[in-house]
């Protein structure tokens, strides 16, 4: 490229300070407390005054148009300052309390829900899906839209016992938060990789491919003089790791791919230690564009939780309090052999005491 300017590298991101709202600078490190004025609206107070935050949803997969709409609102109501949250919501940072309602009105007119604070279902941490990733067993953005259409009411209110963090990932790589969320939807393959013996010898390194399998299902073999690999189908658990390192072993399979539902994970240290999400429903079909089976499964779980948990009790804490048998009872989900762990630490998940409910 023949540009006149010097080519810059390794400059890193801009310093954040230039993007801080003046009140953020003034109260930096000296905030006293915060309050929630209503769902989606926070007020943080320090010596230098109070900063108001209005939080709204975003599809995350956002066009430049959408972002410009948001910056326009920021220019109008928040002195041009806005931020994104760790769950892909948008936050407008307001010095002037009077701006809160007009801003919310405009957002509502644009059909953008305001909320996601405290005991709400916040935005869904999710991944690429059929929009961008070669690995996906399902779509992500579509699932999120379908699920959140049913849960918007829980986003704009704070009527749940505690936060409910929902995540979606389109394959076992779990680019996001599936393994530690209150409720998660995970795309799954259910058939072993199909080996393209034509291209494999050129595309893939055999030792890396063999080593990629967590269950030693892959062995080197020779077909017509060329070294390729073979998969022991009994040992394959469809994780897709081989495909990540070797493109000649695709797993995608329209007939069998689908989603599984997971529950009870958390990340915070509040009360209980962080927990992994556990399997609730091993398989539901891929049913685009609205995945009705997955959506109603998630909704059911959240509603049963909402009815039964105590205040400030996260999904996983609630389940531990009432016990897993009761969880399966209350939600009407069937318990099956797929729920029984058989991976590395399986032995530690077996009930090794008499502590059971009947």
């Amino acid at each position: 490229m023949a540009t006149e300017v010097e080519r810059k590298t390794d400059i890193g991101p801009p310093h954040y300070e230039q993007f801080l709202h003046p009140l953020m600078k003034a109260n930096y490190g000296n905030w006293k407390y915060h309050e929630t004025l209503k769902p989606g609206v926070l007020a943080h107070t320090g010596e230098a005054g109070t900063l108001y935050t209005v939080r709204c949803a975003s599809p995350r997969l956002a066009s430049t148009n959408f972002i410009r709409q948001m910056t326009a609102l920021a220019d109008k109501y928040s002195d041009g300052y806005l931020r994104f949250t760790s769950r892909n919501n948008i936050e407008f940072l307001l010095a002037d309390k009077e701006n809160i309602d007009p801003l919310i009105d405009e957002l509502n007119q644009m059909n953008i829900p305001v909320g996601g604070t405290n005991n709400a279902v916040s935005n869904v941490v999710h991944t690429q899906g059929w929009v961008h990733c070669h690995s996906s067993a399902t779509d992500a953005s579509g699932l999120v839209k379908a699920v959140m259409d049913e849960l918007t009411d829980y986003f704009t209110s704070e009527k749940l016992p505690a936060r409910v963090r929902v995540a979606v990932a389109c394959c076992l790589n779990m680019c996001g938060a599936v393994h530690a969320s209150d409720v998660a939807i995970l795309g799954v393959h259910r058939t072993p990789p199909r080996i393209d013996n034509e291209t494999l010898p050129n595309l893939c390194e055999i030792p890396t491919t063999v080593a990629s399998c967590p269950n030693n299902a892959i062995k080197p073999t020779s077909i017509e003089g060329k070294t390729t690999v073979t998969v022991d189908e009994d040992k394959c658990m469809y994780c897709g790791n081989c495909y990540t390192v070797c493109p000649a072993m695709p797993l995608a399979d329209p007939l069998n791919d689908g989603v599984s539902i997971w529950v009870g994970g958390k990340i915070s240290n509040a009360r209980s230690e962080p927990k992994f999400t556990k399997l609730a429903i091993p398989y539901l079909p891929n049913n685009p564009p609205r995945w009705p089976e997955a959506v109603s499964a998630v909704k059911n779980i959240i509603e049963v939780y909402a009815e039964n948990a105590k205040p400030f009790e996260r999904m996983g804490e609630w389940i531990e309090r009432i016990g897993w048998p009761k969880f399966f009872d209350l939600t009407g989900i069937e318990f099956s052999k797929y729920h029984l762990d058989d991976f590395r630490y399986a032995g530690t998940t077996y009930r090794r005491s008499l502590h059971n409910r009947y």
Partner: protein, 400 residues
């Protein structure tokens, strides 16, 4: 116009109260062939229930190994607009704070060089620019750097660090997450841009144990703010909560995991020696309670998703470290960790899996840290101890 789109399945996703990514992509479909063909290919995926992307090749910008994810359509003739559809990961500012001006500038550049689509943000934290052609990568990169932006990580490198909003808007931050996030990003530009590790290495920085950036679940090194001394109590504010009818017994005392709070209508007391810094009581009464004054962070290693050896939650490796510029002690430790992992780790072995394989004791020895009981939930319960010092016949009675 976009009427030639024929995307009836996707259009089902324009209904309902939640913002529709379909409508949004459509809104740029006029000006972006990429967006148009993305919708068309996606419609086909919805029909056929499968993705149509090929494994990405090695594409990138000059001199960097990371920051770009290559992506090609498997059906380039049918959907030429997405025959190339690479993403660029732009390193976000600490805490995802922006001004309208800065964001608009990036949008302008992206309309010029790419699809007009983004992820705000990617799960690691980058401002993800979604979809462009190989030949646009370098121009876009140069345009970005001119405006003061740079790329983040991908591949076997340090990944883009991210942090919670911390001291910029939170009363609970126990160290300056934004500053340290910036510091680490700048300090390790080389590691960020040029993959030379065994595998990816992610940093996430949370100002307190609430962990609003999910660091303990999703980063190889989680830096989580915490305090060592007593929770600060404002008795007047406490009296206010009581006056307002707040049920301190049910919502605070009974929910403390170690039962170390004694409270009634008149007073609240905390046995801090038994407090595990869970934040629950503080979050219930932010006006009355606050983290202590001796603040710093715990360093935790090894969180990751399940591939290959199973998911891990980060484990405590330094229970408490003061974190103040220039952060030398921390840099030092990070470098010792990388060095040891580099030398003894296997390809595609995350640091958490590495520690499990070589054992925590060996790892600590390798990076020069003393074992502490805070590093474990419990001491070993099996008797398979590798005793190291033992007496030889000659030196009977003397300790080796």
């Amino acid at each position: 116009m976009a009427d030639d789109l024929k995307i009836p399945l996707l259009e089902e996703l324009e209904k309902g109260p939640w913002p529709s990514f379909v409508s949004d992509i459509k809104s740029v479909a006029d000006k972006s062939e990429m967006a148009r063909d993305l919708l068309r290919q996606l419609e086909k995926s919805y029909e056929d229930k499968r993705g149509y992307w090929k494994h990405g090749g090695l594409v990138g910008v000059l001199g960097y190994g990371g920051g770009v994810i290559g992506r090609y359509s498997a059906l380039p003739e049918e959907f030429p607009g997405v025959s190339h559809f690479h993403t660029m990961r732009v390193n976000q500012p600490s805490g995802w704070v922006y001004t309208s001006k800065a964001l608009n500038e990036i949008m302008d550049l992206w309309d010029e060089h790419g699809s007009g689509l983004t992820n705000m943000h990617g799960s690691t934290g980058d401002l993800v620019l979604l979809g462009t052609r190989t030949e646009e990568l370098e121009p876009m990169f140069q345009a970005l750097t001119q405006k003061g932006w740079d790329l983040g990580g991908s591949g076997s490198d340090m990944r883009t660090p991210s942090c919670c909003i911390g001291p910029a808007r939170c009363e609970w931050a126990c160290y300056d997450t934004l500053d340290l996030c910036y510091n680490l990003t700048q300090e390790y530009q080389d590691e960020l841009h040029r993959p030379m590790f065994n595998y990816k290495f992610k940093f996430k920085l949370a100002g307190c144990p609430n962990d609003c950036v999910a660091s303990q679940a999703r980063s190889d090194m989680a830096i989580v703010g915490v305090w060592k001394d007593e929770i600060q109590i404002d008795k007047d504010a406490y009296a206010e909560y009581i006056k307002d009818g707040f049920n301190v017994k049910e919502y605070v005392v009974d929910m403390c995991p170690t039962g170390c709070i004694t409270a009634d209508e008149n007073d609240i007391e905390i046995d801090d020696s038994n407090c595990v810094k869970c934040m629950h009581c503080i979050a219930r009464m932010p006006k009355a309670l606050a983290p202590g004054k001796e603040r710093g962070a715990a360093l935790c290693l090894g969180a990751k998703a399940p591939i290959v050896e199973g998911a891990l939650i980060a484990q405590v490796i330094v229970p408490f470290m003061k974190l103040e510029p220039p952060y030398e002690e921390l840099h030092d430790l990070i470098e010792r960790i990388w060095e040891f992992w580099d030398e003894h780790g296997k390809a595609r072995e995350r640091i958490g899996e590495f520690i499990e394989r070589v054992s925590l004791a060996t790892f600590l020895e390798g990076i020069g840290l003393e074992p502490l009981p805070q590093m474990v939930k419990q001491p070993r319960d099996n008797p398979y101890v590798f005793y190291e010092e033992y007496y030889a016949e000659e030196d009977e009675g003397e300790d080796a």
